[in-house]
Structure formats: C-alpha cells, structure tokens
Symmetry: C2
Subunit: 238 residues, 2 copies
DNA sequence: ATATTTTACTTGTAAATACAAGTTAAATGA
DNA sequence: TCATTTAACTTGTATTTACAAGTAAAATAT
C-alpha cells in the first residue's frame, strides 16, 4: 500500500486555486484564468478543470458566470469549521487562541444525548472534551465535543493545545469531515456558559448542535457550541 | 424567444429524483437506482446522470458512497428557504401560515443598511415588506424583506398572502435565488419583535441577516429575519 | 464450517470531442 | 457619430470511451 494515497488531478487544482485565493494572489472580484487556460497551465482536460471549479464554486470561493468567467468571491475568516464576521476587519489567525477546559477523557455518553446514537456508538462510549476559543482575547466559542470511541488509540493522550482537533483526526487517523447537520437556537446563557464566555447571566447566546459526518461510515463527531455573538456574528453561505 | 426556456436534462432528472425523495417514493436510507440504471431509465449518459446526483448530494438529499451507491439522506422540512426541526414530528405544510404585517411598499433604503449597497441599488430605492410566518399557529419567523426596485413593474400590487415571495419572483420575473451570505446572531427581543413573535421582552431571539444572490447580476434580495427558537430550531446542512 | 479468492457489481477519475448559449469588444454599417 | 452586426471569447450541456477503486456477495479452497 502506498504511504501517500494518490491525489486526483481535479483535487490538486482545487487546492492550488484555493490556496491562491486564500493567499490573495487572486483577490475578490478578480477573474480566474479561463477553463481553457487552466487546461494548458496544468495539463488537464476541460472536464477535469471544470470539476475543480465546480467544487470551488460550491465551497463559496468563486462564482461562475456563463460567458464571463469565474469570479473570486469574498472569503470569510474561519475558526474551526465555523466562519465569523465582525466589526473589526482584522480577524487574522494570529488573534485566535484555543484554551482547553476539559482535556479529552473517555466516558459514557450523556443520557438524552442531543442526537440519536447507533448501538455501536452507545456501547463504545465517547471521548469528551471542552474548549474555549478566543478571538483577540475575547472568548467567542465554548465548544463541547463528543467523539465515539471507535478505533482511536491513544487519542486522549494527544496534545490539542495548538492543533485543530480536525487536523489531528486527519493526519493521525485519516478521518475527514465530509459534511453534517446542525441545529441553531438562541438561548439564555446559563451560569456555567456565562462564566466561560465572560458574559452576564441570561444574556442571549447562540447555541449550535452539530453532527458531523466523516469518510468512515457510521463514525460521527458531535459538538455542542455556545457562541458569544455580541461583537462577532456567525457567518455562513448557502 | 421561446416562452419556456428549455430545461437541461440533468436538471430534469434532478427535479424528478428530488420530488420522489420529498414524496417518500425513496425513503431515508434507501438506495437510489445505480447510475447505469438511471442512464437507461431516463435515456441519458452517465456524466449527465452524475451531474444530477452531484447536485442532489450537494443539496443534502443524498450521500454517495463509492462501491455502494447513492443513499437517500433524511430530509428537513423547509419554510421559505430556511429549514426548521422541532420536537413535534409533524411539521407538515398544512400547519404553515404567512401573515403580512406590512404590504410591499416602495421606499428609500434605511440609512446604515445591514449590507453594503451598490450605487444603482441606492438610487433605485427598495421595496419593503414585513411578514410573520406561523407554524401550528405559533409565530416562528418575523421577516423583513428589502428588494432593490430594479425592473420589477407592479410588484407592490401583487398578492403575497398565500404565495411564496420567491415563487412570485420566479414565475413572473424569472428570478432565481442562486445562493447567498448570512450572518447569525443571538439577541434580546425588542418590544416590537416580542409583540410579533408573541414572546416576553428580552427573551433570546435568533437574528439572521441575509443577502441572496440571483441569476441577475447585481440584483440581490435582502432580509432580516427574527426567529423564535423556543420550540423549533433552525436546521442546516454543511 | 471457515477463511480466502474471485466476480460482479457500484461510484470515481479522466480523456477527447462537439455544439449551445451568454458576454464582450471589435468591425461594420448607416 | 452612433447604432448594429459580427466575431472571438467565455462557460454550459452532452456524448462516448476507458480504466481505477471500493463494496458485497458468490464461488472456491482449506
């Protein structure tokens, strides 16, 4: 078995263009090279190039216009797999910190869990952790994660301080997030939540419940996220 | 010019499958016919069929699995272009009502509008309307819409009571929503909002600010939506 | 009986080709 | 000069062909 799975061509081009947009090589409003130009530049055929562009359009990086070309769309800043938009324009990566509240521990699932669990998940128990994410030293997210304890040796021992949970899962376990469902509510901050998010009690807080699907069938990630949306909003595309 | 624009084949198949899933012909967890079977059934080639399935997967109706097939994903109920999930399973279309608070009127844009406007939009003014949407006679959404007044003759005179705003735009003006951006916040209900949503003042309310893109370049729809998420959640896919 | 291999499916990737339809700017006409 | 037409782009749709890779069940060997 090859150590590095071969990457499809359309994926390769996707990553290149994605990076160029992120890095500002192509700025908002810019026209990307035409499909035929990309074919020449990268030695691919048009269907392959079109697949890359289609994925980019889907992910919101570009908008395609028949007869015109592919135009770079504005790019939101992302925290984890959430995007935020705030009043201050400088939401750079530098200003983002993660604080571990509860280190990953193995425990049984909570009774009345927010999503329905399979029998296999129930039996296995879950890895539980709590984190707070700060933007410019202001706590924005209080994130409670639940991961089914299926084939994840030594995960509780790993360091989560500076790495993204998803990067660890990808790099060490080859687990990729493919999509998911979420429920969004506005609630009052409980005493616990208000403490972590540095808010007064009963202030309105955004509550997200997420079930994330992975490339492994039957293996899901769950999180319950509380957001302080006083200064920043959750940003999304549809 | 033809009165009915010709519909691409991949779109036709998309609509058929989408309807079958919505109608329960294919239920959650079911395997869709294989790509080759669909080719035969609908007289298309595989790339065409694949484009339909790809769009369905993107919209969250199915999940594709290499070697297995396309599996029907569970389907949230939709209100307008938002999805809700509640404690009661029966969120049928019958239980959904729309109440007009302010009939469409032409007026200038509010100062400090939530999104940045182009010069053309500013000059044209906007069509303003307010609606409340009720689910099982409980007010769930208080929706304030802004539409740039560009080439929309007689729109203020039309009936919005029982029709979707988007259906009117599609059928009478050939305007389709292609996507958009949104910001989500949790706020306290103001007096006005609490009245329309039948809540106590200062209760937490979900606030969505949306900018919707259409098939017409430079023409956007805006809405500011306040949601009572006590009983129902906003449901989304990513 | 059990474990392994094979086989027949499924979707994924990729090429080469053709024409349709929308956009823009240059060429042409009055 | 100005309006119109044309031409040269762009992306959209669709066919055909070929093989790779993942899945599951049937066939085979132990």
């Amino acid at each position: 078995m090859s150590p590095q799975k071969s990457i499809p061509q359309h994926r390769r081009l996707y990553e290149v263009l994605r990076k160029h947009i992120s890095d500002g090589v192509y700025k908002e409003g810019d026209l990307l090279p035409s499909e035929n130009e990309l074919c020449q530049l990268f030695g691919m055929t048009r269907p392959t190039v079109r697949q890359s562009l289609s994925t980019l359009a889907n992910d919101g990086y570009i908008r395609k216009h028949q007869g015109k070309g592919s135009i770079v769309h504005h790019l939101p800043r992302e925290i984890g797999i959430l995007s935020v938009s705030g009043t201050t324009s400088a939401v750079g990566d530098r200003n983002l910190k993660t604080k571990i509240i509860v280190k990953p521990v193995l425990m049984p699932w909570p009774r009345d869990f927010m999503f329905q669990l399979s029998e296999l998940e129930k039996e296995s128990g879950c890895i539980y952790m709590e984190r707070v994410r700060l933007l410019e030293d202001v706590p924005i997210f209080y994130d409670i994660s639940y991961i089914a304890n299926i084939n994840l040796p030594r995960i509780t021992a790993r360091q989560f301080e500076n790495r993204s949970l998803f990067r660890i899962l990808r790099e060490h376990y080859r687990i990729e997030i493919k999509g998911g469902d979420q429920r969004i509510k506005a609630i009052r901050a409980s005493t616990k939540i208000s403490r972590f998010l540095n808010l007064k009690k009963d202030q309105p807080v955004l509550h997200l419940e997420r079930k994330m699907e992975t490339n492994i069938p039957g293996f899901f990630l769950y999180s319950s996220i509380f957001c302080n949306t006083e200064k920043y909003s959750i940003f999304g595309r549809f």
